[in-house]
Symmetry: none
Subunit: 255 residues, 2 copies
Amino acid sequence: MEYTVQSLGKLAGVSTRTLRYYDEIELLKPARINSSGYRIYGQAEVDRLQQILFYRELGVNLERIKDIITAPTFHGADALKEHHVQLLNKRAQLDALIANVEKTIALNEGRISNMSNTEKFEGFKQQLIDENEQKYGKEIREKYGNEQVNKSNHKLKNMTQAEHDEVTRLGHEVTFALAEAFKTGDPAGEAAQKAAELHKQWLSYYWSEYSKEAHAGLAQMYVDDERFKAYYDDKQPGTAQFLRDAIRIYTGYRE
Amino acid sequence: MEYTVQSLGKLAGVSTRTLRYYDEIELLKPARINSSGYRIYGQAEVDRLQQILFYRELGVNLERIKDIITAPTFHGADALKEHHVQLLNKRAQLDALIANVEKTIALNEGRISNMSNTEKFEGFKQQLIDENEQKYGKEIREKYGNEQVNKSNHKLKNMTQAEHDEVTRLGHEVTFALAEAFKTGDPAGEAAQKAAELHKQWLSYYWSEYSKEAHAGLAQMYVDDERFKAYYDDKQPGTAQFLRDAIRIYTGYRE
DNA sequence: ATTGACCTTCACGCAACGTAAAGCTGTAGA
DNA sequence: TCTACAGCTTTACGTTGCGTGAAGGTCAAT
């Protein structure tokens, strides 16, 4: 089956402008251009568009979608499983929001007597910030100084929902890549270095400025600090140390 | 309890920039400005912000949110119930999307053998309907009752491609016949009555059950509502009113 | 008295399209 | 064969909802 802009748009529920735009930014090129200059799409493009829309639904920006699905390492089947996890997350968040609106209605009707202002905004954002601050904030401050953490908080505070989703997604990617790399056993190998790279990207959402030294220092902290260690070693003991080694090599700070 | 931009932002999970922007567009003004020019928000603003975020979550644009919640007819409690309905809809859509991704995974793994291209976009398409809902749904509901709109959505969702093509074709026919009839200037004439008849046929694709009263009511809405009026008056001003008159005669509801 | 985290007002930037404008193509009907 | 008219093209400016400095005032603590 072949599609023109209009028929594909109708099928997928997007505008023709959107398809032309996706062509323009090289996110989704038509299979071919016919003799009259019309864009003609085939089955491969239909499937690719589906993938694109999954990512878009999760709030990933188009530039990153392009990077992801054009990467040589991209594996459609894995991506779908990741979508599945993310969509379940999203549904959990939606459930929280529904609980919120139900509670607010109950409050209005006098069926319950009080509701804190904090509760009134539950479900709009994941409460990653507070959790992080409570669990690790204090000790990180003590050991590694206030400055970095403050800056980190500043960025987190001003993060949009989309960015927040993005950083969560990146976090999952790091975990996944790290688990894969761990199997190879080689922290200098390609897989491990890719994981370190992803970790840097993830980190740059928390730090206003990146430095290799700080990155390496953090990696050491992952090993020193029991909680961080537990987090990374959760499924595979030794992962925290493996990550530290990979990052040391990545940053060039080997001692 | 009083809040500054930052504390309110933190509470609600929005950036300080967002709050200043909402002030700028008069969507959410602070309760007062203190002696140093700082924005100070109180409880009323907290509650209003919650309402705003509910609407925003549902994809309503800020201009419309402003119109809705500043309208003299606005009733917070009713709005919350509407949010509840909409959020449940959204969850249903999300479930459809999750079903989609699960089915796609099953297809990839060979557990099922086929999946139509239409199915591959299920759960995305639903969004289009939601958007329509948000744009027009609420006002139509308010004015003309809930039932009709719900039924309309249901039919639209379950339409096959062929039916969809047919309804589109019929829509064009209506437009064409109406333009022809308009030239005669006579809403009781043969041409105009033919157009009204076509309009009824077209309508029956959206409504599960036709009634003359509802038909006449809709025709009146075409004149009352600016968006619909603009649609029909696009090429020939006065067409909306002409159609209403023709339908009134056709249905016998001359009031 | 100096940090440093608050706050303020401009003002430009950006993603992801929407929306004409101006013109070519393909085919169904007079 | 001519004429509509939907449907395709490119070009280009407009819009929404903020992000992101810059330049500077405020407040509490050191």
